[in-house]
Symmetry: C2
Subunit: 648 residues, 2 copies
């Protein structure tokens, strides 16, 4: 790995004004954060109650009552605060900031004298750390830490940071290799990556060491969970957990031996994200290689084309290589967020564009399919094929919802989506001392320091509708030498580069064109990526997709919806020898680029009422309209299909 890893630029210095992403990003400030504030305060009629703020009030002694909601209910507030922080970076919305400050005050009051912070255990009086497998105390702490770091970075206010430092200091006293400490680790990884963040902002090496301890102890034999925890005691919080194997939470073998992505999807990618962080901090090449192996296994064998993971609902987990059912899958929104986090970290360490391909895929497809265009409804589970009638009547699909829901009892996904949208800038650009990487083609502007000088880069883009991206590079001082690295996605087979109007032949390395030069006062770099609609086929080992194709443009996966094409979408057959036709539908969902594709409908003619007497079918010519998968289900309940039959 490179000794100097890439970093993100402070979100304060990035402004996004993109036609595609604008539909969603503006929702964060305008709808999602205010709405989620109401939700965690239980003020939204028709939504499941969160009890989150109420739990803090009880723990703080300002109200009486029992803890309600999940054991990790506190994280609703933490993820909301983290998203608020990212949002405040660009706009110090005083109403939001006041609400956040007030919440932070409450959290501080709910913190115990010794630093412990968790309303479930505080209110119930259950023994702290007695059930690491399920109790989510460290997971919750991790989200608190992430939120506090973000809030400090956005506002400069230390109060929340002080709270989580006190919490982290306490956790450092409780856990670790030393005698007398608990030799366990979290049932749900999350605190590991949070502790690295806290270390990076505070410089306190204890936090880094503890993260490292948690990661390296995981899965060691004898297994902590079997010997000391709920599995031994048989006192389960979640009854279904007693049927889960240790691979559910990646503790089935020492991490250093884990070469395939196993178990619960979110747990896995949060853990791998921390591993990537530690690989850098300790300059540990072995750990980096292991991250690469795990990432390869996910991306080349266990990931949906939409950038989602988790082929099974039971355990919300990875299953086996090439096992990617399109309708019974889990594909949790949060797992996609985690995959983007992990991939972004791997990019920062390796500067290899293949990681950014996956970040882009995850963000453009499953992240957005998780949220409705009204900003108030969310999918947990993101199937690639849906027949609502079946989903409602067949309990094999009981984890699937046929429309996005207002809120969930387990409310991880909505705030996770919100914080990712609010921090999108972290994915668009990355920098080191002398280079700025343009990763995503999202219209925006960034101010950063390159070779010690202030530089502004403005990106004009209407991607992926158009593949033309213009970068206006403005160093504060003429003649600054630095590198502009522009990503050429793997799916883009042809690109034209023009610097100040002069065509150059791009020579991408690891997915990036590097333009190193002395930059004048303002220069214009244009990259024209050829991103036509294209048909994509699966590796034939994915049996569910044999004989099927999907349609993509750039990173965007398309699908057929009942609203455009009627029902029985399984009878649609696409003739991939005919080019898809682009069609911009101004009426559709604030303006959407659609595709008209040709093929046939399988027609069995009159089949009567019998089940097994159909005649040989005929193929009746038909045209279909495809829309981005991310925008599906914004027009009511209906069928949807990503992997369509291909005409022989």
């Amino acid at each position: 790995m490179e000794g100097n890893k890439l970093t993100s630029v402070d979100l304060k210095h990035i402004e996004i004004q993109d036609s595609f992403w604008g539909k969603y990003i503006n929702l964060v400030d305008e709808v999602i954060l205010p709405f989620q504030w109401e939700l965690i305060n239980d003020r939204v009629e028709g939504a499941e109650k969160s009890y989150c703020i109420r739990n803090f009030r009880i723990a703080a002694g300002k109200e009486t009552g029992e803890h309600k909601g999940m054991v990790f209910q506190d994280t609703d507030a933490a993820k909301w605060l983290e998203a608020v922080a990212y949002s405040l970076n660009k706009n110090r919305n005083s109403r939001l900031e006041e609400a956040a400050d007030q919440t932070i005050d409450l959290i501080a009051e709910a913190q115990c004298e010794d630093g412990y912070l968790n309303t479930y255990y505080t209110i119930t009086g259950n023994q702290r750390w007695s059930n690491l497998f399920e109790g989510h105390e460290l997971y919750t702490a991790g989200h608190m830490i992430e939120a506090a770091v973000a809030y400090y970075q956005a506002t400069g206010k230390r109060k929340f940071l002080d709270v989580v430092c006190k919490l982290a200091d306490y956790i450092c006293q409780v856990f670790g290799p030393e005698e007398g400490k608990i030799h366990g680790y979290p049932g749900h990884p999350e605190v590991e990556l949070a502790l690295v963040k806290l270390y990076r902002i505070t410089g306190n090496n204890n936090y880094l060491c503890l993260a490292d301890y948690f990661v390296r102890t995981r899965g060691e034999r004898p297994c902590y969970f079997l010997n000391e925890d709920c599995i031994k005691n048989g006192n389960y919080i979640f009854p279904e957990f007693k049927d889960f194997d240790l691979d559910y939470n990646q503790s089935h073998m020492p991490l250093s031996e884990q070469m395939t992505a196993e178990g619960h999807g979110v747990r896995a990618v949060y853990l791998y994200s921390a591993m990537a962080d530690l690989a850098y901090e300790y300059q540990d090449e072995d750990l980096l290689r292991q991250c690469e192996t795990l990432w390869d296994n996910i991306v080349n064998k266990r990931m949906y084309i939409t950038g989602s993971i988790g082929s099974a609902s039971y355990g919300e987990r990875f299953t086996g290589d090439y096992d990617l059912p399109n309708d019974t899958n889990y594909s949790e929104s949060c797992a996609t967020v985690g995959l983007a986090m992990f991939s972004n970290r791997m990019f920062h360490l390796t500067r290899d564009g293949k990681y950014m391909d996956i970040v882009e895929k995850a963000l453009y497809n499953t992240l957005l399919s998780g949220i409705a265009m009204d900003g108030k409804h969310f999918f947990y589970v993101n199937p690639l094929e849906m027949v609502p009638e079946t989903v409602k009547k067949n309990p094999t699909y009981r984890h699937v919802k046929t429309t996005r829901q207002l809120w969930f009892g387990v409310a991880c996904c909505p705030p996770n989506i919100a914080r990712t949208l609010a921090s999108l800038g972290n994915y668009i650009y990355a920098v080191d001392e002398h280079t700025i990487y343009v990763n995503l083609f999202i219209q925006s502007s960034i101010d950063c320091q390159l070779s010690g000088r202030n530089v502004n880069v403005r990106q004009e883009s209407n991607y992926p509708e158009s593949g033309k991206v213009t970068l206006f590079v403005k160093p504060q001082e003429e003649g600054s030498e630095f590198t502009l690295a522009i990503r050429i996605p793997t799916y883009c087979k042809e690109a034209v580069l023009r610097i100040n109007g002069k065509e150059e032949s791009p020579q991408p390395e690891k997915g990036y064109v590097h333009i190193r030069r002395l930059w004048k006062k303002e220069e214009e770099v244009v990259i024209e990526l050829k991103v036509p609609f294209r048909y994509v086929r699966s590796n034939p080992r994915v049996r569910h997709n044999i004989g099927r194709i999907s349609l993509m443009k750039g990173p965007v996966v398309y699908c057929l919806e009942e609203a455009d094409n009627g029902d029985y979408l399984s009878t649609a057959v696409i003739d991939t020898r005919i080019e898809p036709k682009e069609e911009f539908d101004h009426q559709l969902l604030k303006g959407t680029l659609c595709a008209r594709i040709k093929g046939a409908r399988i027609d069995y003619g009159k089949t009567g009422s019998s089940l097994y007497e159909a005649e040989r079918p005929v193929y009746k010519e038909a045209e279909f309209k495809a829309v981005p998968y991310s925008s599906w289900n914004n027009r009511g309940e209906g069928e949807m299909i990503v992997w369509m039959r291909e005409k022989d």
Copy 2:
């Protein structure tokens, strides 16, 4: 309905000597019953313990200990005894009869003074009838009654019959519409049809009335289960039951309003069987029509081509119309037994051959796929498509086994299969005063009374390998007038009839050719059914089967197995324009009629290690060998597929 319904002939008078069925029927006496006797006595190494006989010994005070196994563990013994009884009809195997008598003595000792008989409640001391939803007391009683009736019919010994009459008398005191009695009904239907059997053999009308009460009270509002039972108390035996709706056990609405088959498959068809019985006993045309409606719904919208039912594992239940996934389904062996029972009863009432089509489909396919050809291994769940690697790694399939298992903790299927095989004669023939119906083409001989005279009919058949069936009709006295009715299956589009060598044109009515005449001393009737291999397509509303075909010969469904065709069976494409070629494989599983079919393999060429970069596939010519679905998985673990892709 006809006032005089058809009946079965005493199994003593039917002898079966069929090449296809012989492989299985002979297993009953030689392997299954002795083996199951060892199993219920916990003497088989490597098998899950049954505890069944042990529980009876404890309840009888001959041993001390706790009840082990399921609440309905007693039914292991009951179903074993019932199968033994059918077996003793044709062969008074003294070792089996002694074991049976000994078991019956034990059961009698385990019965309480007041007639109550159930080792679970007796041993645990839990309150009788406190949990009808889950407790299975009436279900268990039903199996005891069925066994006792069969044993009495086979041996003439009254002891077991007396035990169950005492039990039934006691149940009649406890349940019923009168004040002071429990106004509930079984969580698992079964006792209803058993009580009708007991009524028919004893003439005690109380039993019929109680069966009728149970059926007609079911689903009435307010619902008994919500108001008086475990749902109200919240004390569940099976934790998952708390998530089940009332339709799980058909108590979601009054039975008279139920027009679609809902809920747990076995419960449903046992209940409908009792409804058919009651329709006859009370000559209730409305009830008969409702049975027809429910049967139509199953057969035309919710049944697999293999005669199995239950599209979802969760709840082992029906889902919606045309929802027939081939790999995540439940398709329990017991549900198929129940469907055959229900269909046979409907045939007895209506004399319509369409019911016998389904009996035949159920018996030739799923009944037999439930049992290995060694007679010792069983499938509970019968998928129509299996990829073992996926099944093992993806918990969506955790209900599926990749090979048949020695025995199950819930051991309903093995003895249910055994009793059905042992009573196969009940399905082959049916009679009324003047007619004998030849329903199934299984080589056998029957002695019966027709028009008051003894008649022997001998059937020579090698069906469905050959469609030629010869019936030798021998009345005891020349010149007896009666009708020989021979079934022409719906799938048979052409048949030739010859009476004593003279060709006649068959005029089937409701699926039967009726030959009414004065029969001489011995006459020969030949029916030649044309039953070539044929390709079958699903109604296109079955989305999982669109673009797919299956292969059948007569009632027998064929499949591709990995043992013959290699793996990746999803890439097999069948050219249905080419006729399948018959091939009798003498080496295969005691001799098996196979089919050679032609088509192609989808070949994506070199696809590299990536998931989504495959080229347009080519279709490489290929030949496949298909074997009967019933015989699959007798050569080790491997892929299997029933619904194959059809070449355009």
